[in-house]
Structure formats: C-alpha cells, structure tokens
Symmetry: C2
Subunit: 341 residues, 2 copies
Amino acid sequence: MPRSNERSGAQRVRMTDVARRAEVSPMTVSRALREPDKVSAETRRKILEAIEAVGYVPNRLAGSLASNRSNVVGLIVPSIKNSLFAETIQATAGALAEASFHLLIAESGHDIVAEEKLIAAFVEQRVSGIVLHNTTHTERARALVRNAGVPVIETGDLSRDPLDIVVSYSNFEAAKAMTRYLFRRGYRRIGFVSLETGSNDRASERRRGYLSALESLEVEAEPLLIRTTPPGLAAGRGALLELMKVSPRPDAIFFAGDVLAIGAAFECQRQGWRVPQDLAIASFDDLDILQHMVPTVTSLRLPRREIGEFAATILLQRIQGLDSGIVEKDLGFDIVQREST
Amino acid sequence: MPRSNERSGAQRVRMTDVARRAEVSPMTVSRALREPDKVSAETRRKILEAIEAVGYVPNRLAGSLASNRSNVVGLIVPSIKNSLFAETIQATAGALAEASFHLLIAESGHDIVAEEKLIAAFVEQRVSGIVLHNTTHTERARALVRNAGVPVIETGDLSRDPLDIVVSYSNFEAAKAMTRYLFRRGYRRIGFVSLETGSNDRASERRRGYLSALESLEVEAEPLLIRTTPPGLAAGRGALLELMKVSPRPDAIFFAGDVLAIGAAFECQRQGWRVPQDLAIASFDDLDILQHMVPTVTSLRLPRREIGEFAATILLQRIQGLDSGIVEKDLGFDIVQREST
DNA sequence: CCGCGTCGTGTTATCGTTATCATCACGGCG
DNA sequence: CGCCGTGATGATAACGATAACACGACGCGG
C-alpha cells in the first residue's frame, strides 16, 4: 500500500536504489558501508559510485532499529550556560565524534523530576549511553536506566550510590582541601559561600567539605560566615557585602560556586578593599578569567576536560562490549595559588 | 528467525506486549499514546495501566521510521565553549523541549568541511530540522540539505545567500553602529580588533562594518590600528599591548570578538592605563561580566536568547507544516553605554 | 581427486512502530 | 424501518535497514 510522501522536495533514495544501480543486493551495499573489508574491491567501487550518483544518504533510524544499536549518546546538565559544564561537554562531544557518535543534550535545571523525564525521552530515542551531571535521581529514573540496560556515567561528583559508572572528582575533598589551604595561609576567619544546597548535591558536598575542614582544624564554624546564594555574578557580590557586614569581618572568603568569586572580586575593587590584604578570595572552578583578573584569583582546578574525555571513552568501551571494569574514576583536583590569597 | 539479544539486562518490552495485556490491538495502544482522543476513556485507562505494569518505553526509532517524522533537531555551533552561543542554545533547547523535541548538538570548530560532515550525519539521523551558526557552507552541504528537504535556520549573521531561513542580527550594522558611536563620543583614533577573518564570516562582517563606519565619517582607516587575533582572554590582552605601541596611540579600541575586551580591560588595569581617560574600550558581545567590571564596559547587546527562541519557534512551525513565510528575521541589537567609553 | 574451510554474495525474516483502509456497533433521521 | 454517518477498533502492509544463514566458487591438503 503506497503511503503519502509528505515531505516536500525530499528525494527519497533507499539502499535498494543504490543496490539496483550497482547491480548487487542491498545486503552487499549495507556491508560495503559498514564492513568494507567483507566486500571485494571492485564491488565496493561500484557501490560507492552508485551512492554518489543517486545521492544516497543512509537512514540511521532504520539501521539502528534493525541492529539494535544507535550512535547517539544522551547528556543532561543542570545548565548549558554554565561555563563549567561547557568544557566537559565539549570534550565529551569531541571524543564521541571520533567514533561517529553524537550527543543529544538537554538541560534539567537542577530539577530531578525534569531529569527523569529527560532520561525517559533519551531511552525512548534508544540512546546507547547517558551522561549525567547530577548524582541524585528519582527512584523512577534509576529504574528506567536499569531496565533499559543503558550504560550511564555520572560526572558531577563522586557518588556514594552510583547508578553505574562515576567519573569525577570529590567536591567534598576539594572544598575541604581549599579550606585547609586557606587556614595554612594564615587565615582564621574563613567565610564560605555556596549555591543553594537544596536540590544541588554538589553544593551541599562542598559545604560539608568546608565544615569538615574547620572541624579537623579545630576551628568552630560560625553560621554568620556561611551563606548560600543564587548563581550569578551579582549574587557573588551580594554575598560578599553581607559577609563583610559581620563583625569581626572575615579575613578570607571561599566562594564555592561558579562565578561568585568573580562578582565578589569586582566589588572589592569597587569598595576599595584590598585583596588579599583586607580580604582573601578563593574560588572553586578555575575559569580562565581568574588568572587574568587583577589580582589573579586562587582557585581549584577541576579536571573538566578530562572528565568529559574519560566519560566518553569509558562509555564507548562499554557500548562496544569491552567492559573495562572501571566503576569509579576519581580524576582529582588541584589548588592553584594566585595573588588573591 | 530469533536474533541474539545482546544488551545485557535490557528487558525488551514492545507495544505488542502492552496490547496483549490490555487486551487490545497494538494499533490501539499506538493511538492511545499519540491521539488519546481517538480512544475510549475505558480503553485508554486499561492501556495506561498495562504500560505501567509491564514498564513499556516506546521506541521512537521505530516510530520515526514508520511515520517519517522525528522529534530531533540538529544544531551546529563553531564552539560549544563560547558563552555567546550557550545562551542561544539554551533558549533553543528550551523552546524545543516544550514541544517534546530534542537537540543533537555538535561543534564544527569554524571549519566548513567539518560542518558539512556534521550536516550529513544529522541528515542520516533524519533530524527534522537543523540550526546552523555559520552562514557560509560548502556546496555539498547546501546540496545535502536541499535534497533532504530539511528546514534549516541560520543564526550567525544576516546572510546574503540564505540556505533557507535566517534569524539573526547584522554583524555589519552592529560593528558600524558601535564605531560611529565611539566617534560620536569624541574618539578619533579608534582601534579595531577582531577574530581571524579567514573562515569566520562574522568576524569579517564586523570588520567591514568598522571600515564602513570610518568611511561614512570620512576618517581614514589606519592599518596599524586594525588587528586580528585568536580567541581568548590572553589574545585580547596581546592585541591591546600591540595597539598601544602604535604612535600616536589609539584613544579607543573596539574589540569585536568574544572575550577579547575583558582580557584587555584587565591588562589596562595592570598597566595603570585609565579607562576611559587614557583609552576607551568597547566590546561586541554583552556578556554579563561586562556590567560588573571596574570600570563597566560598553558593549553591543545581542539578542542571544531571542535568536534561540525564535529559531526554535519557526522551526517547529515549519515542521508542523504551518509555513509562516518568514525567510529572514532581523532581531537587531543595542549599544549599551557604560563607564569604559 | 575429493572433502572442506574461506570468501563474496544473496535470501529471508525481523526490528517496533504507524498509515491506511476495513469493520462493526450504534443511533439519529427521513 | 432501513440508510448512513460517526466513533472505536482491528488487520495488513509498509518504513529502510541488518542479522543469520545459505550458497556457490575457489583453493588447498591429504
């Protein structure tokens, strides 16, 4: 029964058409494309010529359906705009591209129910792998990926209860290390600013790290020196102003979220507070800009690129059935000391 | 003939299984999911119950193949890391998500041959639309999308020779307007820095705009005051230093690329050059940070979010066959004056 | 000189949906 | 009272590829 051919100018060329022109069976065309070695040189030549001549573009939907394999990987981040993720995404996409895999990207906005829906959508698309930046998920989401049997990589934090594979660094340890570093530099009233810890597991891990460092240093945590804010430059500035109202003032502030430290550093300049003499500033993510500011800003260097590459590599291995056995990869972090502390 | 079921724990549930359990035909299940109105309330209830019970997840690969429609849109940007694109991507993804469409994202790295390959890959995936940020393409790429009949939206610049639909602002006009604005502010030796103009059509349009402004102002362009650099903060700094060696010095510099102005502004601070007294600085993209710096930086505000939303909206209309007839949408730009000029 | 592994290719069934048309029960209306 | 539109459902044939097996030709060893 013929079906309506809705798409306007689309010249629909099938493998059969190529086969007819090359005077072989469709199966041979299929092989010529996927396993060229299994086809004689002469036949291959004829087929490639035919493909060129008729303008054939393989239909991967059909291919994936028949072979039960797809060359698409799904990736979900809390926010595409966050430059922190951008580099990881770039690295992931790059590594996947080499294996002709593509990336379906979506944004969960820190909402685990939204994440669940996106995971469902990805499973419907039969992606062959999923990369997540959150480490907490709805029960339904967990069941979904379990039943689908899709390999999943979590990259936001080392998780206690991984879905499958984890490639990350420890937010807890990183925050702890930075806090201890500040103490070692002589700062005693160390303020801490993080993003809202509610639905953001990374933020709360960082806060835990800060508190744990203080405890190990036998410094009593001061609630007044701990703040949470929304994301953004302006919020960093706001948090700074609040903290500087506390008496006695903090002598250092550790900004544990995205661009907060940058907003704060600018405000210091505006207020005429000297950094680091009047106030030391430390940041979490080592954004490029930190090493260009005046003064340059101390921060944690996170293995953003490495996380992306590693995630892609492991995923590809799993997809190709070569189970590396790796369940958790801790890529660590570095503290980069600069003028601000 | 039974086929090997490679995927490990994947419980493969088909529509048929749901149908059997709900005691209806698969077709009714299909309808219950896509056109609920066409199924009686009672039947629908049974079907949803069955879906829940057996844990059915529709296979969109099969669905798309059969219906010749997909809910995936491809998007290609020169660089994912570029924050300029991030906001547009976010807006596009958001608008598409509302219609249950997803975004396949890839990076061309300013290489039109790479772009061509990506377009081919997207067509193979049978995406139902493509969003491109470049406006120059290989002939093969043009043929590819033409034959595939896929709607394409270009967003990088208003193009003279659009592939299909253009949603953007004019880089030429924007650069021209900013240059004229600087002149109006009293600056007479206006330097210009852009990214390499070779494969980057936007960069060369901006340069044309700068030159055109000078010409209209009857100011002779000075080759020494015009530079191109690689992207990045350090490059902006480098360009600044080069330009400040020219004698007589420029009294203003217009940085027409990504984060160049930011790097330069920091270097001014470091060198003790007062902005804007010793040197005025203007930037192209209105990144958030510009309004937080000290001094705040004048820039062009580009409709990044609007471009993304509009692109998605138009694409969806085209996909749904409601041709709006819009071929080019100029979303304009604003000059935001701040302390640096 | 025959059996058998290998190479290149074709045949057939299938992947899991959806489009189209057929069917059937029902009810209003002339 | 029978005709016919309407609403709900089903049967069947695609969609465009790939997996698995079949098959003939060929070369090699015993």
